[in-house]
Symmetry: C2
Subunit: 293 residues, 2 copies
DNA sequence: GCAAGGTAGTAGCTCAGCTAATGGTTTGTG
DNA sequence: CACAAACCATTAGCTGAGCTACTACCTTGC
């Protein structure tokens, strides 16, 4: 069978001019080289070199074969170099900080497809609040992190986005509205309010401000969306939650859009020094390509 | 060692999606394919495919490797196809008609270098007069032939060219001239003349006409240049011979340029139907490239 | 004529790589 | 839930392709 060695040999003979020199550059015996060449020529059915006088001179046919052989060896070398740089990237670890909701809703399929394409890069995901994640990004505890509504200058990859809705018991007065218009912020004011953070304290605070709520309106502050739903269902108050959390807990509840709408987006950002980490770079670039497709 | 089989395998797996299918397209066992892939991945130091669920999905690294592997296989296929068309051209015979002087002076190095580059094409050279060669070209007895001063429309390859000189005994009156000017045709007229053909009767006739010789002036007609030289040396007459024949026989002789100069060129032409012969085509093209370089 | 340098041929051995058979894991199904 | 189907990995064992060492032979240059 034809081996890469054959092509290496052919190219080497063409370069060196004799089988002997070629053979000991490749690291085999003159005899072996002679046999290999003979075999190759036999398989191709025509002579590649003219064995005239002191040198091996390529035939016309030989010359075009040599050209292709060179190209093949180039591709081979290219593969080797790809492999080497892959080695450097090697079995790497990458730490990712994110919020519970993103980890459970958005990341799973992204991480699994990333794992398929880069099996040598291990991604460990850390769950934290928005404040913690900013902290970890700052002190290099994580390589990449998911933040809410990233500022434009952080050059983030937007992983997803959802809109906030007002959550009311079905029995609530506002819940009867059927004209499809959103609920204005002012309508919300002075109703007992349940502030759900979903792990994002800072963001929740700013949300409350956006809505024009005063602290006295806030009846309860809870972490999980489920708790908030339960409280709303019991009539303790009304809440504002991301739309994507709804499917899990909508019995006895009514969700209405806000007017003007409020959205939150999840952005993946790199820790300042993580630009140096090849793995982080690959991860970042991959998710960027995935989400914009 | 890495084999072409490995690359074929990789490409095939990528196309088929599973090792099993790939392996039996290539014609090996699933087991062998699995081992080969494992070996290849080990050598490259990274996984090429993710063995997740039912399919083999290329990793990012794998994908670029596959790309190069495809290119290598393409080159390989290209070489195979070159070999096949070389087969068709195969051990071929090619008949070439020419004059003695061309065969002995110009062709040897051309033929030997052609033989080096196309060892599978055997060239047999036939010697003949110019009239015979035209005849052979016409009745397909030869594939290619050398003719003198080929007409432009025959699209010939000019193999060489030499100029005619007047040949005189050193004792001849005209031979004393040292001013370097050529001998005019009229000066030649009415001297006893020796017509040497060198095998080219037709050409010799037209040469005689060009010189303004009348048949009565022609003392002797001989074939070989050597004979003509001998006769001139003996004072039988003067002759006009190609410059390139001189080195062999210039003792006791003086050669002077003609004014205006007369040249003859040797042109290689194909027999009408030889355009179909691959070998003749290759030969023609090769000499064309050689002589214009 | 002889040494130097080159290619081709031969015998023999070793190991790379293939096959066959088996086990394990995931997926789809009555 | 068990069973069948599809697929990959692993093992043991064998075969032959291809390498080495050695030799023969040809060409060239001194």
């Amino acid at each position: 069978m034809l081996n890469l060695t054959h092509w290496r040999l052919v190219v080497s003979i063409s370069d060196m001019g004799t089988i002997s020199h070629a053979s000991d550059i490749i690291g085999m015996t003159q005899s072996g080289a002679s046999q290999a060449l003979a075999q190759l020529e036999h398989m191709l059915g025509a002579a590649l070199f003219s064995r005239s006088q002191r040198r091996m001179i390529p035939t016309a046919f030989g010359e075009s074969v040599i050209e292709h052989a060179r190209a093949m060896l180039n591709h081979h070398a290219h593969i080797r170099s790809l492999a080497n740089e892959q080695q450097g990237l090697g079995p790497a670890r990458l730490t990712l900080g994110s919020f519970p909701s993103v980890i459970s809703r958005i990341l799973p399929k992204l991480l699994s497809s990333f794992r398929q394409r880069y099996p040598d890069i291990e991604v460990v995901a850390l769950e934290g609040t928005d404040k913690e994640i900013e902290e970890w990004l700052g002190n290099q505890h994580i390589d990449v992190g998911v933040v809410l509504n990233p500022a434009a200058e952080r050059d983030a990859v937007i992983l997803g986005c959802d809109t906030w809705v007002a959550l009311l018991p079905v029995s609530h007065a506002l819940a009867r509205r059927t004209d499809g218009t959103g609920i204005g912020f002012s309508e919300l004011a002075h109703h007992p309010f349940i502030l759900a953070t979903g792990g994002c304290h800072v963001h929740a605070q700013s949300l409350a401000q956006t809505l024009g709520l005063e602290l006295t309106d806030i009846r309860v502050t809870v972490q999980s969306w489920e708790s908030a739903c339960a409280l709303v269902r019991e009539g303790i108050g009304i809440a504002v939650v991301p739309e994507s959390t709804l499917p899990e807990c909508k019995r006895g509840l009514r969700a209405l859009p806000l007017e003007p709408p409020i959205k939150r987006s999840f952005g993946l950002v790199k820790a300042p020094a993580a630009a140096y980490s090849k793995a982080a770079d690959v991860f970042f670039q991959y998710l960027s390509a995935m989400t914009q497709a």
